[in-house]
């Protein structure tokens, strides 16, 4: 496969770039010297090679001199490599028989005051590029099949938004949600800042649209078990957990909930109410169906209860239902698995008291569909709390006990909650301990100001040192750092705005998908600024808070971004993959496997029997790490081979002899 270099008829085209090159590089001299360089059959210079007359000159030279390889000595390859490769291809040459010698950014510009030296350096750069090009192989991009179906993992606002955008774009979507219903955290909220829309107006319509969409296939109460393949060609195994209820028979009458003797804390109400072992997580759940939680169901423990089976007139209960594993093949994946809240254990200063709750619990207490019907009552005794203390940044911006980052939504939801609390309990008083107020989302600065000024919520800048029970009250000790005074509040209830954190199983999912989770466990984007919804694994995209704390507007924006990335991916019929990738010289490979472990993309597999490595062309990104590692030099990086590097190095070091 390696080239001898003897077959190349090289033409070299030196560009003046107006005066940008020609002022400090003597292009005349360059052409003179290059003309006689081995392998070069033609060399010339021109004012603007990238202009139409410049390109025409190259076309003509290719024909007149029967060139089969071209060097363009001009600006950086990042600017015109594409242009010139397209040009030579149109003339019937292989595009990989063209290389750019960067004599502008890397030579004429930084050495503008020394014409002699700059000229010599330009000549060296061109000669080195020629000697590299001599060994270039002709390459053709690999054509990869593109299966235009999408897997969305997670059915919160992010996953629903991505699924709907892609399905409305005309493609099939498989949506996998691990809990019994889609909706995610947003479905639990009481209202949303700054407009105070209820989830019933925001989230419920999305859930209904997902359920009814002809191109979305929803697997709720299901987990991703295995993912293999690569962009355009993923294969996934989905484990649909047994619900122990035959959906085709169940009429959702709800009698089973009444008779079930087992009560466990409701996840949806965040432990503020109980649900049964057979349950629907909430009234608007999608899919609208009961599931049996086999871990708490008494049928599966010693006493072999069958209360629901007995009461079900439709014979829908089926305790021996098994998990089913579904296999799907698809071309792209959206990861929208959302967030969790940090456990309260991180902050030793807050005791474990039922009246110290977190922000999401207060959302449930404020919600008209919550356990208290929207009238805030404290968990310990159901008393209406008259004094409520909010503490912000619990576990956020706290390197010592929690996370160093800011969770971005707490300042805003605390303002919202204190406002809704005052609406629920007009005679109540809310206090907020804060570090500073971050309200950079559209419309929220005005919103927070309004709460501070008109809402009569007392904002105290400072930290709380201790919260402890004192009879009927919770004593809150803190310092107002603006006045320097210590503060003591006898509160009925304390609300902790705890940090948003990745789900504990995010790291496992990262492993299954071969994407990266950062030190916190949030999934990492390919580039923070330029590719914010891509991952480094092509074909896998991020949406919502699985990537980083976000509010709903940002979550929707990132999910729409992920959907648009996929729609543009799917606008092609097939995928072309850069062919300058790794390959194995089977004569030399001893099957040591070092390349397998060094490849960040898992592109290499080892045949243990044959003791041979092989590269998956569709996955290899062409970084060259394996080739640099291979002890027997069997792994090679196409057009970046050791011989080519030696050629370059030799030109550069012998130039002074």
């Amino acid at each position: 496969m390696e080239q001898s270099g003897k077959d190349k008829r090289i033409g070299v085209f030196v560009c003046h770039c107006g005066l940008n090159v020609a002022q400090s590089v003597d292009v005349e001299k360059v052409v003179q010297e290059i003309s006689s360089y081995p392998g070069v059959v033609h060399a010339e210079h021109y004012q603007y090679m990238c202009s139409e007359p410049g390109q025409e000159l190259i076309r003509k030279a290719i024909k007149d001199h029967n060139l089969n390889a071209v060097i363009n000595a001009n600006c950086s390859p990042s600017l015109h490599e594409k242009t010139f490769r397209g040009l030579v291809q149109a003339e019937g040459l292989n595009p990989y028989h063209q290389e750019v010698a960067n004599i502008r950014e890397h030579c004429s510009w930084p050495h503008a005051n020394d014409r002699q030296t700059a000229t010599r350096k330009a000549i060296a750069i061109i000669k080195a590029t020629i000697d590299r090009l001599k060994l270039n192989m002709a390459l053709t991009p690999a054509v990869i099949n593109l299966n235009k179906k999408v897997l969305v993992i997670g059915g919160g606002v992010a996953g629903m938004q991505a699924a709907l955008r892609i399905a409305n774009g005309g493609y099939e979507v498989v949506l996998v949600e691990s809990s019994p219903s889609i909706g995610g955290h947003a479905a639990q909220l009481s209202g949303t800042f700054p407009t105070l829309d209820r989830p019933a107006c925001l989230v419920a319509p999305m859930m209904a649209e997902v359920a009814a969409h002809p191109r979305i296939r929803l697997y709720a109460y299901a987990d991703i078990e295995e993912v293999s393949g690569y962009v355009g060609n993923f294969a996934v195994k989905i484990r649909a957990k047994a619900t122990c209820v035959d959906e085709t028979k169940c009429t959702n009458c709800g009698r089973c909930f009444e008779v079930c003797p087992v009560a466990v804390p409701s996840e949806f109400d965040r432990g503020l109410s109980d649900r049964k072992a057979i349950y629907r997580p909430f009234a608007q759940a999608v899919p609208f169906r009961p599931v049996i939680d086999v871990l708490s169901c008494a049928h599966f423990s010693d006493d072999g209860c069958s209360a629901c089976e007995q009461v079900c007139s439709e014979n829908a209960i089926s305790y021996d239902q098994k998990d089913t594993v579904i296999e799907e093949e698809l071309g792209a994946i959206v990861v929208a698995t959302g967030y969790d809240l940090i456990t309260r254990g991180i902050a030793p200063e807050y005791s474990d008291d039922p009246d110290i709750i977190d922000g999401m619990q207060l959302e449930r207490l404020l919600s008209p569909t919550g356990p208290t019907g929207g009238v805030v009552k404290r968990p310990s005794d159901g008393k209406v709390p008259k004094e409520v203390v909010f503490i912000q940044c619990v576990g956020s911006r706290d390197q010592e006990h929690g996370k160093s980052y800011c969770s971005r939504v707490c300042c805003l939801y605390v303002a919202k909650q204190s406002l809704l609390y005052k609406r629920s309990i007009p005679e109540g008083q809310a206090y907020v301990f804060y570090m500073d107020i971050r309200s950079d989302v559209k419309g929220t600065e005005e919103f927070v100001q309004n709460v501070v000024e008109k809402g009569r919520t007392m904002y105290l800048r400072g930290r709380v040192s201790k919260v402890f029970r004192d009879g009927d009250k919770l004593k809150v000790w803190g310092v107002d750092t603006l006045t320097g005074k210590s503060i003591e509040i006898a509160a009925d209830m304390v609300v902790l705005a705890t940090a948003m954190v990745p789900r504990t199983d995010a790291k496992d999912l990262a492993r299954v998908l071969n994407i990266i989770a950062d030190q916190n466990g949030f999934f990492t984007e390919a580039h923070l600024k330029l590719r914010p919804v891509d991952t480094l694994t092509s074909g896998i995209y991020l949406a919502g808070t699985a990537q980083w704390p976000k509010d709903i507007p940002d979550t929707i924006a990132s999910a729409s971004g992920a959907a648009s990335r996929i729609l543009s991916l799917f606008s092609r019929e097939e995928l072309l993959h850069d062919p300058a990738i790794a390959y194995v010289d089977e004569e030399l490979c001893v099957g040591c496997g070092q390349c397998v472990s060094i490849c960040a993309y898992k592109a290499i597999t080892l045949d243990e029997k044959q003791k041979l490595a092989s590269v998956n062309e569709a996955i290899c990104e062409g970084c060259g790490a394996c080739a640099a590692t291979c002890p027997s030099k069997a792994m090679k990086h196409k057009n970046w081979t050791p011989k080519q590097f030696f050629n370059i190095v030799d030109v550069f070091t012998k130039e002074y002899e």
Binding site: N102, R104, E105, P110, A118, V649, T653, K654
Partner: protein, 144 residues
């Protein structure tokens, strides 16, 4: 030694990754920053694709200094190539040590695509340093 080196123009070879340091060099050029012309730049896809044998080849053929430039830790376009480079260069340096070559002749620097200024300054510092060290001992003893 310093006096002997006054007119000494070192041969310097740079391996710069496509995504960061080569782009930083582009930026240095675009903003017309000036630096000594000794450096001969080689674009590589990633700092992690620089095989130590390229560096050895350059040193044995008479280069006085080698610099490898890659993306900042955590920013490698290929996830972790720069960490691989760091490991390899550290290994190579111990070998060079035993061969009696000054450690400082091989530099590994992280220069991001946005750091044109840092690129120019680094090239200046590197050239200075190698001038100070004088011609590579390999140049005399081993030249091939």
């Amino acid at each position: 030694m310093a006096d002997d080196n006054k007119d000494f123009e070192p041969i310097l070879v740079g391996f710069f990754c496509n995504w960061c340091t080569s782009t930083a060099a582009d930026l240095a050029g675009t903003t017309r920053l000036q630096y000594p012309p000794n450096i001969r730049p080689i674009r590589t896809m990633c700092s992690g694709s620089v095989d130590p044998i390229y560096i050895l080849r350059a040193l044995l053929s008479g280069a006085d200094g080698i610099i490898i430039g890659g993306c900042n830790p955590g920013d490698c376009h290929y996830v972790s190539g720069n960490y691989k480079a760091r490991r390899r260069i550290a290994g190579l340096k111990t070998i060079l040590d035993t061969l009696g070559l000054e450690n400082d002749r091989v530099w590994l620097k992280w220069i991001s695509a946005a750091e044109g200024q840092k690129f120019a300054v680094t090239m200046r510092d590197f050239t200075e340093k190698i001038k100070e060290l004088g011609p590579s001992p390999f140049r005399k003893n081993w030249s091939v």
